[in-house]
């Protein structure tokens, strides 16, 4: 082979150059904002920064204080309850609605719009409206009582033990529509023949859903899970608008703790420690999943 024929292998960095250039915003966002911001946050969580970030390291003091704070513990508990229940309920309700919508029903468009429209509203609006509907003085409780059932009591937002369920009601109202859409899209993607096979086999509808269809919708459930879960971790506006964390501290959530301590208490170190804990939790859940989904040499498509 002549030398000339061997020549011409281009410099590696320049292969796919356009793609790399076009990805610069993404790379910057990923590396500078998300990764950089995270590292920055973690570093400053070991300092006693107050209003302004200062590199004055105090070890794990902030973390000790964090976990000693009842409000943080309550926030974590609330997030766990809210998170688990909202995952379960939005998946179950979303799936059931989608399954019903998939029965070749009339007025499908109307129903779909009805279920989806709350998603167009912000959490602030959602919180306000539900705060109002659940207000014992003129909301559901008052209405039922005025109908004659005077001992009726439905007062979630002012009862510490169940306030988080009040928040959940509003969250489900806002979010299940999207889940329904995702599920519906997934159901529409299922091979018709599977349904036919199940009918010929004499499998009742509910068993077909339970044992055949749902297991087949794994990718849809995963996508949905990511979307719901990322929303759950970030829940803030809804609580602020609906209860401000009350009564007392019984509906506090971690994101609100972070915000309050960073800006109201002007204790950035504490806020950063709290956010670091949140990030760690997220990472523990997300990284193995991301590895399975996107790493591990999975084939294209």
């Amino acid at each position: 082979m002549t030398g000339q024929a061997k020549a011409g292998r281009p410099f590696k960095l320049f292969r796919n150059l356009n793609s790399k250039i076009a990805s610069i915003p993404m790379i910057l966002t990923a590396m500078v904002i998300f990764l950089g911001g995270t590292i920055w946050t973690v570093v400053y969580s070991f300092t006693n920064s107050k209003l302004l970030p200062r590199l004055n390291f105090v070890g794990i003091e902030q973390y000790q204080r964090l976990w000693a704070a009842p409000r943080w513990v309550v926030s974590i508990e609330n997030l766990a309850i809210y998170g688990i229940l909202s995952l379960i309920f939005s998946l179950v309700i979303g799936f059931m609605l989608a399954a019903l919508m998939d029965q070749k029903i009339r007025f499908e468009n109307t129903f779909r719009t009805i279920f989806l429209y709350p998603f167009a509203l912000s959490f602030i609006v959602t919180g306000l409206v539900w705060q109002w509907i659940l207000n014992p003085e003129f909301g559901v409780q008052a209405v039922v009582r005025s109908l004659g059932w005077t001992s009726f009591s439905f007062d979630p937002l002012y009862t510490s033990e169940i306030v988080i369920y009040g928040v959940l009601i509003a969250a489900l109202w806002q979010g299940t529509g999207l889940v329904m859409c995702l599920m519906l899209a997934g159901l529409r993607g299922i091979d018709e023949d599977i349904w036919k096979a199940a009918r010929v086999d004499g499998i009742p509808m509910w068993r077909t859903y339970l044992f055949v269809i749902i297991p087949m919708m794994r990718p849809v459930f995963i996508t949905t899970l990511v979307i719901i879960a990322s929303g759950i971790v970030k829940v803030y506006d809804l609580v602020v608008a609906q209860t401000s964390g009350g009564p007392g501290i019984s509906s506090e959530v971690p994101a609100k703790y972070v915000y309050d301590y960073m800006f109201q208490a002007q204790n950035l170190g504490q806020g950063f420690a709290a956010s670091t804990m949140m990030l760690v939790t997220v990472a523990i859940i997300i990284i193995p999943w991301a590895y399975l989904e996107f790493g591990g040499g999975r084939k294209r498509g």
Binding site: K50, L52, A69, P70, R71, P136, G245, D260, Q270
Partner: protein
């Protein structure tokens, strides 16, 4: 010159008061660009701080007296007002002098106090007590005694909004009224955890327990909604700062006739002097910097002080103004102030961090009836021990 001023004065009385400031500033040939952010200082402060640290500062911004802006000043983000202050002889006219002290860092003055607010007031609805068939109480103990009668009449004895600062504020009021000024100072100024855990403060917690019991059923969030319960006679009373007076005024109620105010809960007539101050973030634009000076001077102008404070229901920061138009309650406050029965407010003594923790504690205490006063006191003492 246009000067953007951010603040969180959006309730009825507050907005009317701000309008006076704007009017006075506009009269100097400048223009007040209003940057109100509703929802109390906790919503607004983060935004203000982000703007200042983000390098896009407003012309002037409201903070409470105290340590909220301390670090911003230390970071050199705030304008030094010493010249304006010297020209206006602030040192001489502002009373109590502690107000100016908290604006002073390293001998330089960084803020212009505009009013004095005191927390130590119990507001009572005369109509509510009439309906319950008991006399309007003259002090805290009578009030506690009257509570069952109010409850029987379907009236919430004590209105407390759901936000933590209202509960912790009420507690501080009880602390001065029941625990006394010395203990108060030991706890907040000296951060003496032993006192905080001691029997004197235990009495205060006992009183707070009473207050908690009486506040059951006041399902509101905002302080002025709670005030509104008093105004409408749905609640017997409210422990709230003198800014509540603005609401009574807007509702066209007359002190002494429609409502009664008991400074120091009628027990111990001492008021704390906190209040609002304006800070002036450093501006690159020289024009703006000049306008800032003008605004600072305007804020302390006697006419402005009177007009503003009458609307706001607060006390002017200078003693030399004519405030004859003030109503009963304000006059009571002025008297106490003149007598010098004052203490420094707790947010001037404690850092926002400590304040926030105390707020969290009392938010929980007032909402959670299973939390005993003892347990709460123990946690309170812990916070004080760790306070900086």
């Amino acid at each position: 010159t246009d000067l953007e001023v951010t603040h969180w004065w959006t309730s009825g009385g507050e907005a009317a008061a701000v309008a006076e400031l704007a009017k006075a500033f506009d009269a100097t040939g400048n223009h007040w660009v209003d940057g109100a952010i509703a929802g109390s200082g906790s919503t607004a402060r983060p935004i203000m701080i982000s703007r200042i640290t983000g390098g896009d500062p407003m012309g002037a911004t409201q903070f409470n007296h105290g340590r909220q802006a301390e670090e911003l000043v230390q970071a050199g983000l705030m304008k030094d007002l010493t010249d304006v202050a010297t020209a206006g002889k602030w040192k001489d006219i502002i009373r109590p002098s502690t107000l100016l002290d908290s604006c002073t860092i390293d001998g330089k003055i960084y803020c212009a106090p505009v009013n004095i607010h005191s927390w130590q007031w119990l507001w009572l609805s005369n109509a509510a007590f009439q309906k319950a068939g008991v006399a309007v109480p003259k002090n805290w103990d009578e009030f506690v005694a009257a509570a069952p009668a109010l409850e029987k009449a379907g009236i919430v004895p004590l209105a407390v909004g759901g936000q933590g600062w209202q509960a912790s504020g009420a507690f501080n009021v009880l602390m001065i009224a029941i625990g006394g000024k010395d203990n108060y100072l030991k706890v907040f100024k000296d951060k003496d955890a032993a006192v905080a855990a001691g029997p004197e403060i235990a009495k205060v917690f006992k009183a707070a327990d009473d207050a908690r019991r009486m506040s059951k059923g006041s399902n509101v969030q905002d302080w002025n909604q709670a005030t509104n319960l008093v105004i409408t006679g749905k609640a017997g009373g409210q422990i709230m700062g003198d800014w509540a007076q603005g609401e009574f005024q807007v509702a066209k109620q007359v002190a002494g006739k429609d409502y009664t105010c008991l400074p120091g809960l009628g027990v111990n007539e001492i008021i704390s002097t906190s209040g609002d101050a304006f800070y002036f973030p450093l501006q690159k634009d020289a024009e703006k910097a000049k306008a800032q000076d003008v605004l600072a001077a305007t804020l302390l102008d006697p006419k402005t002080q009177v007009a503003f404070n009458l609307k706001k229901g607060s006390l002017p920061v200078r003693a030399d103004v004519d405030i004859s138009a003030a109503n009963d309650c304000m006059k009571k406050g002025l008297e106490i102030l003149a007598k010098g029965n004052i203490v420094t407010s707790s947010d001037q003594l404690a850092s926002p961090d400590t304040t926030k923790q105390i707020e969290d504690l009392f938010a929980e205490f007032f909402a959670n009836t299973t939390m005993t006063p003892d347990a709460a006191q123990k946690r309170f003492a812990d916070i004080i021990a760790a306070a900086d």
